[in-house]
């Protein structure tokens, strides 16, 4: 009697696990990875390191929220790293000239949004592909960052501004809270609003979405504008953490964000973009980096490992897919 009951529960645990693996294999992999690292890497599973880990992924996490929408609609954005740099500098300059933190933050965010708006408008209205558009804009924005800053880091004099990036609440640093809130907001936007559903539909089949009465151009422009605003905000947070606006920061950040999303199972061809995937992708990237630092692995090797992880993850996903359709 009790034997069968045990079997039963074993069975359900097994199917539950299988289900989880099918739906979000990366979550499973992350859990295993996390447990493994906790056991084998000294200092890994300590409160201090966990907070450090959270802090290190917060920037990528915030921007991954909006990059998720970009990817979901079948596009991507290579200019976010430059918006981060520009907005940080811009914010610093505004604070130094006006003395107002609020104006500085608003300026940084709106500056980013404006670049996003330009990206989106060119892509949607002129029909130029996102790769070229955001690549071109990336150069322009980076250049503007240097022009605004005069070529070097802009130190910020207002101490109250540093609280955004360096303060903490209930023991957790603010950037971590901000990232969590972003994931919640954009998760809801993606799954529970017309904005999210239309974005997914567009990525799944642009022409069908247009014929179904979705204002595809408007949605595209909105996606890129919000993306720009978010990158701008990330730039502001970064400037606050570094107490200065740095025009040459964050090189390679755009690809980090895109890699994290893809790692979590977001499709580059659009239409498939689970928010939990983006979260896990960001965490895996950050965790591996963190563990490698703890183990004192030289930076050169870290590049190799990170690239390999991305490729393996994509391959595993591909394998799962082909396997699934031929069961």
């Amino acid at each position: 009697m009790s034997n069968t009951a045990v079997k039963q529960t074993n069975r359900t645990v097994l199917t539950l696990f299988k289900d989880l693996w099918e739906k979000s294999g990366m979550v499973v992999i992350y859990i295993i990875l996390f447990i493994g690292l906790s056991i084998f890497v000294p200092y890994f599973f300590t409160l201090r390191n966990m907070i450090g880990l959270g802090l290190s992924v917060s920037m990528v996490g915030m921007v991954a929220c909006t990059m998720l929408f970009c990817l979901a609609s079948g596009d991507f954005d290579l200019s976010v790293e430059n918006i981060v740099a520009f907005s940080g500098v811009f914010c610093a300059v505004i604070i130094n000239t006006t003395g107002s933190v609020v104006l500085g933050v608003i300026g940084g965010v709106l500056g980013g949004a404006l670049f996003g708006l330009i990206n989106g408008t060119i892509i949607a209205k002129a029909g130029i592909n996102a790769l070229i558009t955001t690549l071109g804009m990336a150069q322009i924005i980076r250049g503007l960052g240097f022009i605004v800053s005069g070529g070097s880091a802009v130190g910020i004099q207002k101490v109250s501004f540093f609280a955004i990036g360096n303060g903490s609440f209930l023991g957790l640093p603010n950037p971590i809270w901000i990232t969590i809130v972003c994931f919640i907001i954009f998760g809801v936007l993606l799954n529970n609003t017309t904005y999210g559903k239309n974005t997914l539909a567009m990525g799944g089949n642009m022409e069908a979405a247009r014929l179904a009465g979705i204002g595809v151009n408007k949605v595209k422009i909105l996606i890129f504008s919000i993306q720009g605003a978010m990158a701008g905000f990330a730039g502001v947070v970064l400037a606050s953490r570094m107490t200065s606006g740095q025009p040459n920061t964050s090189v390679g950040f755009s690809l980090d964000v895109i890699s994290a999303c893809v790692l979590g199972g977001v499709s580059l061809s659009g239409g498939i973009a689970p928010i939990q995937g983006a979260i896990v992708g960001v965490l895996i990237m950050g965790t591996v980096q963190n563990a490698m630092n703890l183990m004192n692995i030289p930076t050169f090797y870290q590049y190799v490992v990170r690239g390999a992880i991305l490729l393996i993850a994509v391959l595993v996903d591909k394998f799962k897919e082909t396997h699934r359709s031929s069961i």
């Binding site: 559903k197 539909a201 799944g204 089949n205 069908a208 204002g215 239409g271």
Partner: protein, 506 residues
């Protein structure tokens, strides 16, 4: 004659779906074997097993007495199997010649031999009697022409087994006749041919035997076409009798709901004017390329018109985007479901509610998942959409069921005028009947329907009035009492082609 291709207890299971169960039957050389069944009965799945695209879950197939265990499509092709799929798989930006020879282009010194390629392509086009420049890009061709190219491509291999999956669903009469000539020719040359279609007349016209599938099971194989009638076939397929698939019923008509005046644009030769009344089903008939779809695209705002006025309920409705049209109650159900209709990587639920969800939005942006699910379940039931659940990806449904999903998308909207472009393409008789009923019901609620169809019996069966287009212009409008096949065809055919027609018919 001995069987050439045999299926032995073939079964296939997809997650949550038993697509085929214990299928055993055979195909002989020199015969055209019909395969019929409802949407989702498993016809395409069987062909995909034959093509090596899916391995069977159980059972096996054998060719010429030899058991085959195809690992991939390449090995099936090498064993002499050619399949013409229900969906087109051509590369739109490549030329006709390149598409025909994709994968085995002739080479000279390691480079593509363009001259030879062109020659082979031209010969093949001649063989299917298609007058197209092999240098033309696929995207410049009509759907019917693309379908013929797909056929030409498959036939290039000189295969012993050739399977056609609904090849005529996007062909006009003219091309269908040509295709049948080709098929007869192939069977006389000893090929074993499988022919899948929802158009039962065709089965009677070219098949020597016919097998009926239902819910993944083989119901029956009729050895002699003389023993079986249209009605028997239908009742074996659907499980009930359908005496008159159109079941036309007259309905009252009201005031003019859509008025199109002198509309002009790409694809039209002369400005087009017509009206739709409340309660009316207005048929649009014409050959491929007559400009019917082009005209509707202008009215719906997909393409921009260069002149003319559109009014809905006597108010200007010159829409420049589909979105504006939808908000004004004008909906368009596209003819090419793969490119313009479905979003394959999203669920049945999301595909159906993509437009109608705007009616049950909360707080401006939040969707109402409960209402959407109710709507989906209603249509899954009403249109008999075969799917394991509302969350199944649409890309995993059978062709006909995908079409039903798009119909459901618009039937769940608040329409005033519904433009249906080839609404029953690839849909089985049982469901056709259901869709016609829905059309009558809709028009009884004072809506108007424009029904574009290349299927003449269908246009004649459901329309209150038919507008005939020819080479980019409207040439006539006939009331139901004036309908006759002869009259409509002679109006639709280009003047110089009328002579050819009598030749083809022989």
């Amino acid at each position: 004659m001995t069987p050439y291709l045999e299926f032995n207890s073939v079964g296939k299971t997809f997650p949550g779906v038993r697509a085929l169960n214990e299928i055993t039957f055979n195909i002989k050389q020199g015969e055209v074997h019909g395969l019929v069944g409802e949407n989702g009965a498993g016809k395409s799945t069987l062909l995909k097993i034959l093509s090596g695209a899916h391995p069977p879950t159980e059972g096996y197939l054998s060719i010429n007495g030899e058991q085959k265990d195809f690992k991939n499509t390449r090995s099936a092709i090498d064993s002499g199997v050619a399949i013409i799929y229900q969906e087109l798989y051509l590369v739109p930006d490549m030329s006709v010649a390149e598409n025909l020879l994709l994968g085995h282009m002739p080479k000279k010194y390691g480079f593509v031999d363009h001259k030879k390629m062109k020659k082979i392509a031209q010969d093949q086009l001649d063989f299917i009697m298609e007058d197209i420049d092999p240098a033309k890009k696929i995207k410049e061709l009509s759907i019917a022409q693309r379908q013929m190219i797909e056929i030409a491509k498959a036939l290039l291999q000189d295969s012993q087994i050739i399977a056609f999956d609904e090849p005529t669903s996007s062909l006009s009469d003219k091309e269908t006749k040509r295709l049948f000539k080709i098929i007869k020719n192939l069977s006389e040359n000893g090929k074993a041919i499988i022919y899948v279609s929802h158009r039962l007349e065709e089965i009677f016209e070219i098949c020597n035997r016919v097998t009926v599938f239902r819910d993944g099971e083989r119901v029956q194989t009729f050895e002699n076409m003389k023993e079986v009638t249209h009605d028997i076939l239908v009742s074996r397929m659907v499980g009930r009798d359908i005496t008159d698939v159109y079941s036309y019923r007259p309905r009252p008509q009201g005031k003019c709901i859509l008025s199109v005046k002198e509309v002009m644009g790409d694809g039209l030769k002369k400005p087009a004017s017509f009206e739709v009344k409340q309660g009316e089903i207005l048929g649009f008939f014409g050959l491929v390329g007559a400009g019917r779809t082009e005209l509707m695209r202008l009215i719906y705002g997909i393409d921009q018109k260069s002149g003319g006025k559109v009014k809905i309920d006597n108010k200007p409705a010159d829409h420049s985007s589909p979105r504006a049209s939808v908000e004004n109650g004008l909906m368009y159900c596209p003819e090419d479901r793969k490119y313009d209709g479905i979003i394959p990587v999203r669920s049945v639920d999301e595909n159906i509610n993509i437009s109608a969800r705007r009616h049950y939005i909360k707080a401006g942006i939040f969707i109402d998942k409960k209402k959407e699910a109710e709507n989906t379940m209603k249509f899954i039931k009403q249109l008999d959409i075969k799917t394991p659940s509302k969350d199944q990806l649409v890309g995993n449904l059978s062709g006909g069921n995908q079409q039903k999903v798009i119909l459901a998308r618009w039937l769940s909207e608040d329409v005033k005028i519904l433009i249906m472009d080839e609404p029953t393409r690839g849909i089985d008789v049982g469901t056709k009947n259901e869709i016609y009923h829905l059309m009558y019901n809709l028009t009884e609620e004072e809506k108007g329907i424009i029904c574009i169809s290349s299927d003449l019996p269908e246009v004649m069966g459901v329309s209150d009035r038919i507008i005939i287009m020819r080479e980019g212009e409207i040439v006539a409008s006939l009331n139901r009492s004036e309908f006759s096949e002869e009259k409509i065809l002679s109006l639709a055919l280009p003047v110089d082609e009328e002579k050819n027609r009598s030749e083809i018919n022989e």
